[in-house]
Symmetry: C2
Subunit: 160 residues, 2 copies
Amino acid sequence: MEQVVKAIQDDYPDDFAWCYGCGRLNKDGHHFRTGWDGEKTITIYTPKPEHIAIPGFVYGGLLASLIDCHGTGSAAIALHHKNGHEIGDEAQPPRFVTGSLNVSFQKPTPHGVPLKAIGTVHEIHPKKWKVEAEVYANDVLVATGEVIAVLAPKTFTEKQ
Amino acid sequence: MEQVVKAIQDDYPDDFAWCYGCGRLNKDGHHFRTGWDGEKTITIYTPKPEHIAIPGFVYGGLLASLIDCHGTGSAAIALHHKNGHEIGDEAQPPRFVTGSLNVSFQKPTPHGVPLKAIGTVHEIHPKKWKVEAEVYANDVLVATGEVIAVLAPKTFTEKQ
């Protein structure tokens, strides 16, 4: 199965690696992982058996969650790149939070196959990025979305 | 703690009670329950320990999921009412799917307290309803959202 080899979430500092969607340290979470796919970004995830709307079809809230973390991860990759860094180098990547999240469900999403979220990242402002996302199941477009990702304020990232 | 006594999800037929967000038969799901709150609708949910963005704050994807199911549940309540029925009577309620979901995160959402989603329902068309949602934590508005809910097509609700 296709996998994301280098993911930005692998580089988040431990204190910010607890997100239920994409935190590698949250043992009950989804562990979404986002990397480059050419000039776009990609997150691949296979929903668990319980992630259904009705039997056979994926729960919309899971798609929304995928787009959410794909958005913040994509913005982090893009700003990190702009700052002269790449995933996996020694530098600590920036951490974004979600300002807004829009999802349009295009088709019922079949359960049991990997979902691929593909992102196109636009800089609105150094601290505010827009990520357009397309989610595919079996190469069929099942959902589109947009995330406005905002650089986490220092109060958020500083040690409590 | 305040609770929703009569919830529309309690009346969904068994075949459509498997949703990860609001299906009473999905043992691993959130079990969101939506009822009337005067002329508005309400869903109350206390996030689980793992539903965090960073320690102490609720994961945005969980808020999106809450608004999603609150939206489809609210639309079901409203159309059921328009059809002359109420939650808990013998009639089977209509079942909606999400066409689109928009969420704006207003403030970091504290973890460990019940979240209340309050809905205002607007009929666009008998088969298409708009639900405006406000989510409160400790009576502070933490997120707003909008769901376009579409009556589930017969192909969706018919026995496979």
